[in-house]
């Protein structure tokens, strides 16, 4: 890698993270740190992927990430949507993940009871 490449990659990533040029209308990031996995993040991730492929949704990108620190609400999924503020869902199970796909990703309704909130 050369120094010039850094700038190119940064510009490319800037475009992609703004989603417009990227593949997705929605990007969902699953927290896959050890605490997330210990709390069941792997099952949540596969439920999301399964539900999305079952529904043939092609404009949703699922990626993984490390721990965001709110470990007792794991498994956590952050949802990024163009022009909207990021949404964080917590304490997920595979069933709840499927609900998010149905209600939020498909129908655009935020699933309020699954949002991470102050106790």
């Amino acid at each position: 890698m050369k120094l010039e490449d850094l700038k190119k990659i940064r510009e490319k990533m800037e475009k992609e993270t703004s989603l417009r040029e990227g593949k997705g209308r929605i990007k969902a990031v699953v927290g896959m740190g050890t605490c997330g996995i210990a709390a069941g993040a792997r099952e949540v991730l596969s439920a999301l992927l399964d539900e999305i492929s079952k529904r043939n949704l092609t404009d949703i990108v699922i990626t993984q990430s490390g721990c965001r620190g709110l470990c007792d609400r794991e498994p956590i999924v952050d949802v990024y949507e163009e022009g909207k503020e990021m949404i964080t869902y917590g304490n997920l199970t595979p069933e709840k993940a499927r609900r998010i796909v149905a209600e939020h990703f498909v129908n655009g309704n935020i699933v309020k009871d699954l949002l991470v909130s102050s106790k």
Binding site: C35, A38, A39, C71
Partner: protein
């Protein structure tokens, strides 16, 4: 992979000792380092047998006694203790029918304790081989243990 192949993977320098011991131990069904293993490693690295034995017995993750296929390591550090790891450990003892450090009759599990596994936010926690399980309850433990047994039988 057999022992000779594992040894050949590494340059014969002392600094590879821990890696070699890990690899040999993981390659074996009984998850331990035998007398033969230690002798072979000592010859390969040209390090005395007592030194190799010294390392193998210093670190808690190495065992010179036969163990089960899966190592269950329950975190008993203070954050987990505060959250009830005693209950978890006792339940596992009962379910598996073993005491600390013992192996089940079918050689499936060896029950051990561990210092902090670093997942205190989902305490109480345990690790089976390389997989971490948190927020443990008796029900969850049943589920996990059943999963491992089914995997073996299925």
């Amino acid at each position: 992979m057999d022992r000779e192949k594992i040894l050949k993977k590494y340059e014969p320098t002392r600094e590879n000792l821990l890696y070699i011991l890990h690899d040999i131990q993981n390659s074996k069904e009984e998850k331990y380092l035998s007398e033969d293993d230690l002798v072979a490693v000592s010859k390969y690295l040209k390090v005395s047998r007592s030194e190799v034995m010294g390392v193998a017995t210093f670190y808690t993750m190495f065992s010179v006694k036969k163990r089960g296929h899966h190592i269950v390591r329950v975190c008993v550090s203070p954050p987990c203790q505060l959250m009830g790891s005693d209950t978890v450990f006792n339940y596992l003892k009962k379910t598996l029918g073993v005491k600390e450090g013992e192996t089940t009759d079918d050689n499936m599990f060896t029950l051990e304790t561990s210092s902090c596994l670093g997942v205190c936010a989902v305490a109480p926690a345990m690790m089976i081989d390389d997989d971490m399980y948190g927020n443990l309850t008796p029900e969850k433990i049943d589920e996990i243990i059943t999963k491992y047994r089914e995997k073996k039988n299925g």
